[in-house]
Amino acid sequence: MQSSELFLSFNEKVVYALRSLYSSRGYSQYKMSKFEEYDLYARNKDFLISDSVITFTDTSGKLMALKPDVTLSIIKNTKDNPETIQRVFYNENVYRISMGSHTYKEIMQAGLECFGDIDCYSICEVITLAAESLRIISDSCVLDISHLGLLENILESFCVPNFARADILKLIGEKNTHELAKLCASLGMESEDIEILKLLISTSGTPTEVLPKLANVLAGKTDISPIKQLQTVFDSIDDALKPLLHIDFSVVNDIKYYNGIVFKGFIEGIPTSVLSGGQYDKLMKKMNRRSGAIGFAAYLDMLDRFNLPPNEYDVDVLLIYSKDTDLSALNAYANTLLENGETVFVCKAIPENIKYRKCVNFDEEVTDGETNA
């Protein structure tokens, strides 16, 4: 008999492994409805990756939405308790416009949220789980980590006007040093400060390489406590996961919602990031919560075309019978094949477009064989 695990798709195996990983750290599963009141998204539109939401009117006339996001609903429905820690994980479908096609798509997400008193341990645990989630998908992975607190401190210290900050962050996200230099110069920024921003974009690598270098360059220029926080978190992480961590300041989630460490996960062979997250105390505050929060989501739809098993055949044995076949003998023979670990498709005529390893005509081969034997 074949193990039933063999029939699971790669996505399904990943989901099981992620659930087990998150449960092992005391995260409890959060189940939710597919629908949410549209108002929740209208009030936090910038938090959503795409601002298009599928809406409908429910039986009481309320405008509802098919969930484009999970985090907002979890915050809304979780008790605010800043003194302790609450840990939840989820595995849900969300509905968003897909990249490039401009059509809605159902996207499976798995992720977790940690609410409450967020300290360096909680951050370290979430980063660990993010890195381990990536490693479940593939060993060839990278978790890019940035710190929006550091970027904010720099922009503040370099007197970057508020109206230009979103543009500057966008350029940092694109690693676009040439346009960043032009924009900063047009804002009248000091050339030394512009060079520091350019260095921030172009410097990426392991925390051991990058953090001391940045601390050195930024000392005396701005508050570098976020670098110290990154260092503390990095030092606390298991040695086996350290090679996966990469400091890269081009990870820039929305500064209106996120405040501290932010990160994105990449897998070799998948063109976009498969995991994204960070600390979002600002969103919590905006939703009148006193707790801090950190979490991430892994986009499992991105795994659709990854690690596909060789699919040579649809079925091992195509078993053909006729109207005169002894059905109990046919059924017994099919069961024998199944017990031998083969997959069986029983039919009277060969269907179109089916790929089989072996075709057995029950009346000619099996019955005759048995007779002959």
């Binding site: 990249m99 990449f266 070799e268 998948i270």
Partner: protein
């Protein structure tokens, strides 16, 4: 260990040829690309590079979706389609400008919705949105210049290189939206896993660009 190939999407046409010359000078040559045939993919295993010619407006898609690790695309395409890629360099070639053009006697009539013919509907929409103007976009795929002449539109938003086509059709640039040039772009995942080769190319191309200035 086999060196991973770096896939490069080049824009078909004169700009692509200029770009290939830059890559060649940077040490990433592929002699077969110069053979006179209809092939679209060329490989130099030794240099670890594979080039393919694609429609200029498709380069960003190939790079965003990881079919190409790197590529060269016009800033117009990047502004219009906003692909999720790294924009690593301004190569300072293929220079032109995105501009609004209209008939010589044109002036804005704020009491009416402005009709704008363009191939670049996102660029045109965000430009007029930033000016607080209400517009009606007419999406065309070519010969944009005839739209104001036939009174299909009031203005056009298009790429202007020398301005000759506009002049010959009795149009003139009334506003410049943004300068355009060719940009060196990279897929975000490829940048993580092939960073050494990508950074080497970026640094060589940057040196060539600086030397030209």
């Amino acid at each position: 260990m086999v060196k991973p190939m770096l896939n490069v999407a080049l824009p078909k046409g004169r700009l692509g040829e200029k770009v290939y010359a830059m890559f060649e000078k940077a040490g990433f040559s592929c002699p077969s690309i110069k053979e006179n045939n209809r092939k679209l993919i060329f490989e130099n295993e030794e240099a670890g590079v594979r080039y393919f010619w694609v429609k200029p407006s498709d380069v960003a898609i190939y790079v965003e979706r990881g079919a190409a690790d790197i590529g060269v695309a016009g800033k117009d395409i990047l502004l219009e389609y906003k692909p999720d890629v790294y924009e690593l360099l301004d190569l300072d070639i293929g220079k032109c400008r995105m501009a609004v053009a209209a008939k010589r006697n044109f002036r804005y009539d704020m009491s009416r919705t402005l009709r704008v013919a363009t191939k670049f509907k996102n660029i045109a929409s965000s430009y007029y949105l930033s000016k607080g103007m209400n517009i009606d976009i007419i999406h065309l795929n070519g010969s944009i210049e005839i739209a104001p002449i036939l009174d299909l539109s009031d203005v056009i938003v298009d790429i202007v290189e020398t301005g000759t086509t506009l002049k010959e059709n009795e149009l003139q640039v009334i506003e410049e939206i943004v300068p355009i040039s060719a940009r060196f772009i990279a897929n975000k995942t490829s940048y993580k896993f092939k960073s050494e080769s990508i950074e080497k190319i970026a640094s060589e191309l940057s040196a060539q660009t600086e030397a030209r200035k």
